[in-house]
């Protein structure tokens, strides 16, 4: 399953870091951050619950870039 979320982040490198962090989160198969469109599309693993996974994704993103937000 694939879902796209609106995000808030200030710099392009931070967006890259968020992408890395999201990719490493359990339950995420693949993630792409589109800095220009301020969107993150996440492909979830089979059976993963987007809601719970996204909470983890946000937590991991906050570690690498404190000043970011994901709307889900």
């Amino acid at each position: 399953m694939k879902k796209t979320y609106k995000i808030e982040v200030d710099c392009a490198n931070c967006a890259n870091k968020m992408e890395e962090a999201a990719k490493k989160t359990a339950g995420v198969k693949d993630a792409v951050v589109n800095f220009m469109a301020l969107k993150m599309s996440v492909e979830f693993e089979e059976g993963a619950l987007p809601e719970t996974v996204m909470k983890e994704v946000l937590k991991n993103c906050k570690v690498v870039e404190d000043d970011c937000e994901i709307y889900f």
Binding site: D10, C11, A12, E19, N34, M36, A37, S41
Partner: protein, 622 residues
Amino acid sequence: MNKKQKKVLVRIIVAAVLMTLLSILPLKGVLRFLLFMIPYLVIGHDILKKALKGICKKQVFDENFLMAIATVGAIILGEYVEGVAVMLFYQIGELFQSYAISRSRKSISSLMDLRPDYANVETPEGIEKKDPDEVNTGDIIVVMPGEKVPIDGIVIEGEAGLNTAALTGESAPKDVTVGDEVLSGCINMNGLLKIRTTKMFEESTVSRILELVENATSRKSRSENFISKFAKYYTPAVCICAVLLAVLPPLMNLMILQREAGFTMWIYRALTFLVISCPCALVISIPLTFFAGIGGAGREGILIKGSNYMETLAKTGIVVLDKTGTMTKGSFEVVQTYSAAENEEELIFFAAMAECYSKHPIASSIKAAYGKPCDEKSIGTVREIPGKGVSALVNDIPVLVGNEKLMTEAGLLPASCELPATVVHVAVGGVYAGYLVIADQMKPGAADAVKDLRRIGIKECVMLTGDDSAVAKQVANQLGITKVFGGLLPEDKFGKVEEILSSKSAGEKLAFVGDGINDAPVLSLSDIGIAMGALGSDAAIEAADVVLMDDDPKKIAKSVRIARKCMGIVYQNIYFALGVKGICLILGALGIANMWLAIFADVGVMVLAVLNAIRALYVKNV
């Protein structure tokens, strides 16, 4: 500027004024330190806070952390002005970056300002304004002059000229009337239209296009991936170099050369390194360039579905063209007439009357050549002769319209025609009257399009077609294409493209241009599939990598030129930013570049790279 940006701007101004004042005043000792802390904290408090947070989360190579180390280090070394200045310019750079990006985000989305805000839905109580999302398939919507068509549908009442410029880049209006299909995103220029919707809003052309453009930059190019990988290693590498620079030379001085360590000097040089360690200029300018390039192309009616395709498109070396629908209009037209009695008007009149009731494309082309509606009163009995033609009574004169066989069977001798096209013979009142040559029409500009492709250095243009070889050769000659394969079934086209793909060199890419109707497999097989005139055709938009929204073949070369310009800017930015940073690192290590130069290089490179990136938006005259 938004609120956040304005706040930063105020801080920048306050800090800059304070810093200048303090550096003029003859201050000494602790007082000087304390006073300089005011502008430093004004400009840098958030960076310091973020740096602390970063340390807690073990994010050592975070930009904020590095900036904090560099400036705190400078202050400890007594270089107060430089400490404040580095922080100040870093913030100026960040502000510029965020401003430039929000500006280009806005200008690109306004380019693609297709999204309709509302739809006028006809209800039993009158016309109601609704959110386009809430309109059902089959509802009747009303589009007034000046309004955007919100949802795809069919005109059931009224006629109007539609401006399709936002979709196709084409400025000539398109006239529609009852029964015509209209696409969302067009602007109604003059008439009142009632439209029965055929799709939901989210499946309508406008939604699909917006989605494509917005998501295009999610498909990252190889250069983007290279840069994000590079950024991942660049910062740690520069930091390690900085540490080595601070420690090794002084140790060498002490142990080997037996002279003074010079710790201060080497630490200062190491701090200079940290200032240059942020990869921001690179990381921001590359996606921004692609974003601008895709936005600019979209304005010209060329949809590029991803940054990766932009990259491949720029490397196009072979273009394989489909004939029908791509280089030709795909509709038949009378291209030549021969009248035995030298009365061509009469010839066309009789042919058109005889074919009046026929729905065959060839009959339609004859009627189109006649140009006036059939006068049904003048037509008597009409008899179709399968595989040969028709016989009819027109104004009580027997008329035969059909192929050579029909003529010879009637005992007439038809004039011979050598042209590789469909020939329709006409006999009037038992006498051979002449023939009409019917062929698929070349698109205006098709020959120029091939010339354009050659001019931009495409080595090979190949044409594929299902038509027989004689017709194919003739069209190819007119276009100036030497390599042509005729008589191909759709699966043969697939095989042919596979063959060309395997024989070309890896560096050059193959682009296939088709109308997307029955060549979807070939579109996905080739390195770059370009669908032409695909507006409204979902299958083509799905299968292609690049979609030309109108059917102007000149856009093929244009799209390659746009891609090349965009990639040119990408490489300029990569080399420029890497080059300047590299030079600064070397000069910094040698002690030639001080912290001032380092921060100017860092911010300056970013500003220039961003400005250069925005250039990709302007593709009108590439």
